[in-house]
Symmetry: C2
Subunit: 409 residues, 2 copies
Amino acid sequence: MKEFFKVTDLEHTLKYSAVFPNVGTEFITLHEALGRILADDIVSDINLPDFARSTMDGYAVKASSTFGATEESPAYLTVKGTVEMGKPAAFSIKSGEVARISTGGMLPDGSDSVIMVEYTEVIDKKNIEIYRSVAPGQHVLQIGEDLKEGNNVLLCGQKLRPQEIGLLAALGKDSVKVYKKPVIGIISTGDEIIPINNMPDKGRIRDINTYTLSSLVQKAGGIPVTYGIVGDDFDALLEKCSIAIAHSDMVLISGGSSVGTRDLTVEVLSSLPDSDIMVHGISISPGKPTILARAGDKAIWGLPGHVLSAMIVFGIVIRPFIEKISGLSPQYKKELRIPALLSRNISSAQGRIDYIRVRLIEKNGIEWAEPVLGKSGLISNLTKADGLIEIGINTEGLDKGSKVWVIPV
Amino acid sequence: MKEFFKVTDLEHTLKYSAVFPNVGTEFITLHEALGRILADDIVSDINLPDFARSTMDGYAVKASSTFGATEESPAYLTVKGTVEMGKPAAFSIKSGEVARISTGGMLPDGSDSVIMVEYTEVIDKKNIEIYRSVAPGQHVLQIGEDLKEGNNVLLCGQKLRPQEIGLLAALGKDSVKVYKKPVIGIISTGDEIIPINNMPDKGRIRDINTYTLSSLVQKAGGIPVTYGIVGDDFDALLEKCSIAIAHSDMVLISGGSSVGTRDLTVEVLSSLPDSDIMVHGISISPGKPTILARAGDKAIWGLPGHVLSAMIVFGIVIRPFIEKISGLSPQYKKELRIPALLSRNISSAQGRIDYIRVRLIEKNGIEWAEPVLGKSGLISNLTKADGLIEIGINTEGLDKGSKVWVIPV
């Protein structure tokens, strides 16, 4: 009988990520910062705005000058002048006076609110009438109302989206300290694997995994470095592995699909200096024959050879490890999962988590998750899927209409 | 009274995207292809696999040799040899014979199925017993079962995810024809705007929009080229605009927030050779004072100065235009929208589509969309949002508990 390795469950496997240290940090320009992970808390060194700022086009005014103004009984006010954009007014506003102001303009001394141009009528060059009253502070952004000097506004470990980039621009941070992108070495193994620019002889297959894994590493914020294909040869794999580890923050060995290649990978990983095999098999399907080893302070993975299995293991298991060493804080790992209803019954084995490819289909305002059928090795089927659903370890299957959470792929 | 421009509704605005031609195409290596848009249909020039391939570790066999085998009454079979990975077997299989085979191995002539190693027992070097029968074709991927020679497997206009990259690798496409990334020129205007590495005097504000828009362009698959800040000056803006148009596929002018700057932008856009103003105001909020002009065959946008408004207009209106000229087919524009329940009542004006920032919060398996409160100009609030919800043009508001679709930001 085949030897069954003792599998580790997913939760325990994911906990091992804490073992591996974060990559180093670097300074980059703000233009390069999209999608990067902050390596410092950001404290605001200014009040934003640092002047009372109009949020409307209209007239700056003392609110008390407008009290009681209505359509039937407008208030008459004197125009003191115009606030130019980008500078303080040279005058101040007293009771009964207004100043023309644009959105973004700085309120003149003495004024405390803005009356929208829509509720005013020009009488002559020096006088307007207004049809509404305003409250003190209306249509005004107060000093520090957006950002207060001394406040923590972004946190170390936060991923930078366009809006966070905007906030950094507002603070004048043209350079930001971020975690480096982790370098992920990728090795393909298996006697049957050939470079993709070759035409396969009978029995051989092109090296798909180097390309899918490289793409997945890029999507996860890493830098893929590919080390080509190694046959089922202990010395060759050990040598390639040692080189990859020396130059990477993590290494992925995409195993040939045969049990021989898997065994060889385990042997090689066990032979590396200061190494141990942390996980030999995970209770997920597909993806069970996954190996996690440690060499020094770096993680090395033995991945299943099937492209679908390798992709699922990457998304479910390896990506969280890459995010960990990238410095991403757990609170910013918010994963997008789309609730949907299952379109048909699915059976599943207990004792493992099953991942099923699904297509998302909206019918009458209801989002359905429709399993993509077909043998699991088919790359063509993968391109038809929008996401994965998870069937829990203690679940025998799910009925049509069950609520599921779809993980986009 | 202020002049009210005649606004265009969102649907009509989006239809104008058809006016603008796709960018050109280029060949890139497969390693660079993630996220790019295919510019050719891909036809499979091979069968994948092009040999009958085992999907399990076990023994290749004629299914008929296994019929009737059970735990109680196993079948005894002779081991003819081992299938080596990556090559055809030198022997063939007759009735009563098997060959050791690994996942991915090529079935020897005469065999039609694989019996999993779990259901076998080794008797001696030459003989095994098996406890189950297999059906013809079981655990075998047939020739062309994944991809058939001559079939269209990917379509022009399709965006390349890791799984499509894998499929291209399987076909040996180490170079692919894709649409170029559109170059998007970005100009900031307004006398109050200063470069971010300056400390703002009273009344001035740093150039946030150049950075948020650059990031959004990158996320949308474009290449941002920034042209700095231009004051409220007709000649200066016209000159900068002409340069940007000459070097870009589309131009974004992020208006200062004042009505004066907006008017200036319209004047400049109207003065460009072979130009017309297609849209002057869109019935959405925020984002109403958006301008779309055509100069030659390029789109030029006048965007509101408020960072929140500019970001929303980008996501809702401009991104679809960038996707159009990027060659992305409508069928691949599938947008991820997350269904959720609204956590509180929201009012809205009729006659426009309102976009409300929300945070996503899961409570007891239900996803809630919680509006992020605060004045709309606050960049700090933007960083707290996970997405936007849309309140339709004929809706006065939504009640707590209403079903909404969240657009991730």
